[in-house]
């Protein structure tokens, strides 16, 4: 969801910037040429070209405006509605109050006054560390498993019903099992991340393997390539885009789950902090936490989208 809004924005602004630089330089060259002696005919065509360039440039700028203005309007309306809600319900802090609280929190993000009172920076980092571990383990197991399920029909039929049953289970339903086995909150939270973020990676990787065009496999067959060559030269590159989509979905799920898991397990972390502030009834901190969770989630997804874009190959044309 968030990609759809932010990506075109980023892309178009980059393009416009580059275009501006380029056309500014070109216009300089053009005018320099214009001052030299030329026939009126070629001057006319040059002027026409110049006008064309200006027009294109204006179009780029206006497309940028078209992309950003609605977003800004939406944001303004959102803040306005929030302000209105704060006005009619004085329990909800106003945007200004939340902003002030956020500024104060982020002015000293890395203080530490014992395990239950740490800076917001530490809370975010602890949550990211848990997500990283749970997600990393899930990738380590889920991706190779996805490859095998995609490659061997028997394995696919064997695992499909189990995956179908376990995948829709709510993340928190897994928590007691983690607590039971690990007897500690932190590994239990990592376990929940692991079990919830493994499914998209298994499923996407195996679907990617199954969708490899028959043409590529025919190449492998007519050349009698070894299994290792098939894997490195055909399977892996062909599946990579699917795999990265799975990874992206997984990291989204992992970040969703961490907050819930931390609320229940406690310790240090953004989810725990949110719950703690609820107990302290500091509502503006709760709202800050919501925004922090949203923005960190967005950044994680953007990061993976960028990585995925590097590995996209163009099959068409």
């Amino acid at each position: 969801m968030s990609n759809a809004i932010t990506l075109p924005l980023v892309a178009s602004s980059n393009v416009t910037e580059r275009e501006n630089k380029r056309s500014a330089h070109e216009m300089f060259v053009e005018t320099a040429k214009l001052t030299s002696e030329e026939t009126s005919e070629s001057r006319a065509t040059r002027e026409a070209e110049l006008a064309n360039k200006m027009r294109r440039r204006r179009e780029r700028v206006s497309s940028l405006v078209h992309a950003t203005v609605p977003a800004l309007v939406g944001f303004a309306l959102f803040v306005l509605a929030w302000q209105f809600l704060a006005q009619i319900n004085n329990q909800i802090p106003s945007p200004a109050k939340v902003w002030a609280a956020a500024v104060k929190l982020f002015s000293d993000p890395f203080y530490s006054k014992g395990p239950n009172d740490q800076g917001i920076g530490w809370n975010i980092l602890s949550s990211l560390k848990r997500v990283g571990m749970g997600f990393g383990l899930a990738a380590l197991i889920g991706i190779p498993l996805g490859f095998m399920i995609g490659r061997f029909t028997f394995l696919n039929r064997m695992t499909a019903p189990i995956i179908a049953i376990l995948r829709p289970v709510s993340p928190l339903a897994w928590l007691p099992i983690g607590l039971l086995v690990f007897k500690a909150a932190n590994p239990a939270a990592i376990w929940v991340i692991f079990i919830c973020s493994i499914w998209p990676m298994i499923i996407n990787t195996s679907v990617g393997v199954q969708r490899i065009p028959q043409d590529y496999l025919n190449v492998a067959r007519v050349l009698n390539l070894s299994e290792w060559k098939i894997f490195t030269k055909i399977l892996f590159p062909a599946v990579l885009p699917y795999m990265l989509t799975g990874v992206k979905l997984s990291i989204g799920v992992a970040w969703l789950v961490i907050v819930a898991a931390e609320m229940l397990t406690g310790g240090v972390g953004i989810g725990f902090w949110l719950w703690d502030e609820w107990n302290n009834l500091v509502v503006e901190h709760i709202i800050v936490a919501i925004f922090v969770i949203g923005i960190v989630g967005l950044l994680l997804e953007q990061l993976l989208t960028r990585i995925a874009a590097r590995f996209e190959f163009n099959e068409k044309s």
Binding site: D215, N218, V222, L223, F313, N314
Partner: protein, 264 residues
């Protein structure tokens, strides 16, 4: 007796198991191809010409009968047969060089030093006139160029037989004509044995020594075989006014549209 032939197809039959039951695609296929011969398989769509080519490639196995390539029975795909697919089938994440190198390495790797493998790859791309695009990716070159890379990949492994499955079918008419001329040159230069599936009458007459005309499916078989006795090297422009050329062309057209007309 059979040893004198480079490629032998003996009483071959292919059935498919479909949802509607047993389907007999081709039957009683008998064909002998000499070393250095260029044979075209022509017929209406659905006549099983591609099925026959897949059997030669070893991508599928016959339900009955035997295929022999260079004295060895075809029991699966193998690098003694170079295959060019209709849709080029290049791996998009590899450059033209790497696409060809993959094949070269498979066949000659371990037997020859790396420099030699590299040289073979470059030679193959040079043969098809692509030395300038050697480090480009498939999405950076035109459809005609991609098909050249496909041909280079098939020829680089020095196959006993070159199998072409409608190699120019997806190209526009001008590019196709150009590549046909190139293929004539390449085949003359490499003295390759070629079996080519086509549905283009002019292409068949221009390129082949023999044209194998297939009846309509199901249960298709070889209807007639036409010897094309046109001198080589062949020139497209000169042949346009050659009476023999038109005679051969007419024979194929008659077979396809008079004797074995397909209900559209």
């Amino acid at each position: 007796m059979n040893h004198s032939f480079h490629l032998v197809v003996d009483n071959v039959e292919k059935r498919f198991d479909t949802k509607q039951g047993d389907f007999l695609a081709i039957r009683d296929i008998n064909l002998r191809v000499n070393r250095g011969e260029f044979v075209a398989l022509i017929g209406h769509s659905g006549c099983g010409k591609s099925t026959l080519l897949n059997l030669l490639a070893g991508l599928s196995l016959p339900s009955n009968g035997v295929l022999v390539c260079a004295g060895r029975e075809v029991k699966g795909p193998g690098p003694d047969r170079g295959v060019v697919f209709q849709n080029h089938s290049l791996l998009p994440w590899l450059t033209c060089f790497d696409n060809v190198y993959l094949a070269v390495e498979r066949v000659f790797g371990g037997k020859e030093p790396k420099a030699k493998l590299k040289e073979r790859t470059e030679d193959a791309l040079k043969l098809v006139g692509l030395s300038h695009a050697i480090h480009k990716h498939p999405n950076e070159i035109s459809g005609g160029m991609k098909q050249r890379v496909g041909i280079a990949r098939a020829l680089a492994i020095e196959p006993a037989v070159l199998l072409l499955d409608e190699p120019f079918g997806a190209l526009d008419a001008l590019t196709r004509a150009h590549l046909q001329d190139e293929l004539l040159r390449i085949v003359a230069q490499t003295k390759s044995t070629v079996v080519m599936v086509t549905h283009d009458v002019d292409e068949a007459v221009l390129l082949s020594d023999r044209i194998v005309m297939m009846t309509n499916g199901p249960a298709a078989t070889i209807g007639e075989i036409l010897d094309v006795k046109l001198a080589r090297p062949r020139d497209r422009l000169a042949l346009a006014e050659d009476a023999n050329y038109h005679h051969y062309r007419k024979a194929v057209v008659e077979f396809l549209y008079a004797k074995h007309k397909k209900a559209a």
